[in-house]
Symmetry: C2
Subunit: 111 residues, 2 copies
Amino acid sequence: MPKTNRPVSPYAADSAIRLGQLIRRGRIDRHMTVAALAERAGVSRGLIQRIEAGDTGCAIGAVFEAAAIVGVRLFDAGPATMSREVESNREVMALLPKAIRSQRTEPNDDF
Amino acid sequence: MPKTNRPVSPYAADSAIRLGQLIRRGRIDRHMTVAALAERAGVSRGLIQRIEAGDTGCAIGAVFEAAAIVGVRLFDAGPATMSREVESNREVMALLPKAIRSQRTEPNDDF
DNA sequence: AATTAACGATCCATAAATAGATCATTTCAG
DNA sequence: CTGAAATGATCTATTTATGGATCGTTAATT
């Protein structure tokens, strides 16, 4: 349990917990100790524990690093294709409007 | 560009950038300004900018919160099913070994 | 083309995350 | 069953992220 926590929605909190589960599972499947994963990720043992617990305060870089090491696939792209995915999407991004003007109809809460 | 950055692997860095792209795209599709998203997520405007830029230092809770608001689907589970996904996986987790003993073949960093 | 909101970047003070050490407990191997 | 190792938890010092303000630039609308 983290010392303190900023308020987050249930979906965001659950997403962090889910990712923590995937990381823990991947680590155990690979017969790695928490300490071993921490060392390879370049972080402390305590941070790995918080990551696996789904602490929403952890830096996303540390979490993704741990995920990568234990083989958790992010956003339907493996290590080989993630870079290309990002690159090809830059073109798409370039076509989007650079600034949003009208708030139009009240922000959609439907999801 | 973030002030400072802890070293992360290309895959982790690209993953953060990819998620930032998805969030930015979702925000623009919904005609939301950066400021509007920031307010709804309960964070500062500057943080949203860093999130969309793929800054690996951002708290994962803030990133997932922004993702949720603009409708980015995480780990193949929408808001309705994420909670159940986590819950049903607790049983699976319970079956895994609680501690890892043998390093098996010492983490061979031979290459 | 002019207007003005949105954006991106930077600086500083403050709040928060992280590292590192330590201790108790659990759990696996012999 | 026993011993050693892994885990989980907690504490403090330090590093770092974040909020909030500001400024120049960009770009959408008229």
